[in-house]
Symmetry: C2
DNA sequence: GTATTATCCGAGTGATCACTCGGATTTAAT
DNA sequence: ATTAAATCCGAGTGATCACTCGGATAATAC
């Protein structure tokens, strides 16, 4: 379909354990150079060298530099999603909100260097597919939960819009603090303010 | 002081009308290539060629590619600030909030291609100084205004923190829509939701 | 009108980069 | 044991890029 699409995805999936380890090593090398020196220093030659594999091997699995970071972003997305949906599953909208804000900030703080670098140095077109995937996993999940508790919510004309809106408010605000004032991620005021802001708008009380 | 600082600023200010026009042409060329083809295609050679000046002339005023986009970002920041502070100046917190949200969204929508490209394709280190400058112009202005109307605000422990927090909520949310769902910038629901969200948290009533 | 400064030019340079390809080596299949 | 498939190798290639420099031309100062 889209010919450019292939440039940001794996060229071939590793099947043997040996090649799985190779791909892992390449991604780890890419992450290390990205966080340590920056995207501009992460040439395919350097990534391969630091990973201890030859440049030819890198191109066996990745069509180019962007695909390496696309795959890296994809795997980070899976890790992020796992954190957000980890136990214990909250049972009320209020606890769901608290859980969501707390774990999201926690994930960003714990992976700050890589998170910021992926967000600010890697060209968006290389990673936007991977970003989209996480959102599409999460939004329906959140919508289903809220639908079960509609009576506890403040009435809004367009619940779907408001839900997505608040999700973006939360993630983009945390993103902004991560980029421009990362120490605030450890400030309880930030977590409290976000919960309070969203809670008083979304929840009935 | 910081030796790397010089890499993102003008090397020399144009003094004659001729050279002012030259610098303008370079910046316009950079903006055109950035929005049309992307940052990767905006080499210094190409920027100079499209601007109708020689590569030597470009380096007379800019120490490198990043400085071109740093200056471009700076000028966009000035334009943005001018829009935010344009007449009529609101007199109540509520109208101030409405004015701020409305004009901000309007600016982003009207300059979408350049806004998004600067935000997602140009490396942050090249433009973060310019970004910071606008914020530092605006925050004290907003704080002063709110201090004059404290009685109309909901009581908060830390007004400074809340003000900055809400500013970030607004700008980062609009930013997120600009990048990921740009058509929503014309949806009145977005403006209304932002005003409502922030208003009900900040204002007394 | 002379000197000084500002502006502009563009071929050339050295470095870097993404990517290929022919073939070696290892693993799996039969 | 033989074949087939997967994996790995790395020197080499062509292109691109950021940036310099020596000097030409134009504006300004005196």
């Amino acid at each position: 379909m889209n010919p450019t699409k292939d440039r940001y995805n794996l060229r071939k999936r590793p099947s043997q354990a040996r090649s799985v380890a190779t791909v892992d090593a390449i991604l780890e090398s890419a992450a290390r150079i990205l966080t340590g020196q920056g995207y501009a220093y992460a040439s395919t030659n350097t990534i391969a060298e630091q990973a201890g594999v030859s440049i030819g091997t890198l191109y066996e699995y990745f069509p180019g530099k962007e695909a390496v970071f696309g795959e890296l972003r994809r795997r980070e997305g899976f890790r992020h999603y796992a954190v957000l949906t980890k136990e214990p599953r909250p049972t009320t909208p209020r606890s769901m909100l608290e859980h969501l804000v707390t774990t999201h900030i926690e994930y960003v703080r714990d992976n700050l260097a890589l998170y910021v670098a992926l967000e600010t140095e890697v060209p968006r077109y290389a990673i936007e597919d991977a970003e989209q995937a996480v959102l599409e996993d999460y939004v329906p999940l959140s919508n289903a939960f809220l639908a079960m508790h509609r009576s506890e919510l403040r009435p809004h004309n367009n619940v779907e819009f408001i839900t997505e809106f608040l999700m973006r408010v939360m993630s983009s605000t945390v993103n902004d603090y991560a980029l421009r004032s990362p120490t605030s991620l450890s400030d309880p005021q930030l977590t409290d303010a976000l919960i309070d802001l969203i809670g008083s708008y979304l929840l009935d009380n």
